[in-house]
Assembly symmetry: C2
Homo-oligomer: 257 residues x 2
Amino acid sequence: MEIFEATEDNYGGVTVNMKKEEPMDSHKFHTMLMASISNWRQKGKKGIWIKLPIELAHLVEAAVKEGFWYHHAEATYLMLVYWIPETPHTLPANASHRVGIGALVLNNNGEVLVVKEKSGKSTGIWKLPTGVVEEGEDICMAAIREVQEETGIETDFIEILAFRQSHKSFFGKSDLFFICMLKPLNFTIHKQNAEIEEAQWMAIEEYSAQPKLNKSELSKNIAKICLAKKDNEYTGFSAVLTTTGLSAKNCYLYSNK
Amino acid sequence: MEIFEATEDNYGGVTVNMKKEEPMDSHKFHTMLMASISNWRQKGKKGIWIKLPIELAHLVEAAVKEGFWYHHAEATYLMLVYWIPETPHTLPANASHRVGIGALVLNNNGEVLVVKEKSGKSTGIWKLPTGVVEEGEDICMAAIREVQEETGIETDFIEILAFRQSHKSFFGKSDLFFICMLKPLNFTIHKQNAEIEEAQWMAIEEYSAQPKLNKSELSKNIAKICLAKKDNEYTGFSAVLTTTGLSAKNCYLYSNK
């Protein structure tokens, strides 16, 4: 009986990478899947992963019928998983958090770079430039990118002043939001038109005194930290590029230097 | 022509929540989907979301044929999405990060709580208790939970000493790892048997001098921070419970007090 080719991992699991270039009807897929599971069971395998390209969406049903469930999905594929042992599974969790940044950019006159957004919950408030950290992007780099995109101001990353974690923010996922301090390298604003209504330099005291801003305890707390930072009375976490593990993979460590 | 019931969002999108209690054959689903998209297009709708319970896996293929792609998936459902306008989509990204913690638990003798794991990359090294922050769980609470589960030691959360971000850690996702300082409330270790080989209190100098640990630049840096903390020469980020937005949702802000 034909079975699937699979790569083994260090946790007693196997992964089948289905290829969109090798289409298969669902009957053949189902037959091979049953034979494969029987084989993996004999070998004492535990977690069974199937990465199914979206082009093979017609095979999802057959896998689910065999007891597979969804682990995660990206635009181009669905990852299905199955647990052979009778014991509760110890499979790793899916990504649980989205990560965002807010940027405190202070010039030498004690003014902060602020924007008004065209849509969303914060229209009418002067706020720090914000954005989403992309998969694979460093927090410090995301802050520099967002400020440049929204206002045309180039910056150097200085430190992370604070962060907040909140829950059930989107599709039940949790959310981490890092306030980053950046140093501007130029001062003439060229705002982005798609999302930004207005952008300007504003006295930080004026920014932090906005009544609408102060309706949120969190925003009030963050504004206080920004004021303390302006007066050099606050130390955040600096970024140090280091390496991790025996493979010496690059990563940033953020800490109080 | 029958069309799907859908809820509208603030961004010009609509969401169809398919019900597992209301099964439908794929032909009917496809017909209704085409009629619905035509209706939403006339109304100027942009993003179209379909939440499909795993029990309706037989409908995935029809949605993909109509141009839908995968946004994300959890164990029990698949979220499909489609963008009607001709312009590039502005749909929100999927969760991009997994979040973990490592716990520095120091007793009054300058000893640190360390464990040896039964499997994984770090066997043979005395390491800080670590674990994954669950969706919806606060980082400070996750640290307390993991220490209790692995060693039986109850703790109070003190502060976050540092964190690192790395990429391509699992299924291409990024990873945030927070080093948390905790204060032990009891001292007799009851180790968990499933994952933990050994657990003990160890002089922090002995912990940080382990040759295997020092092969990783990151671990070396973290051990330095732990040593500085033991000597009261380091300040991390404390947790303050606050509220965000007009809905006054609870959240933790981590900052230098």
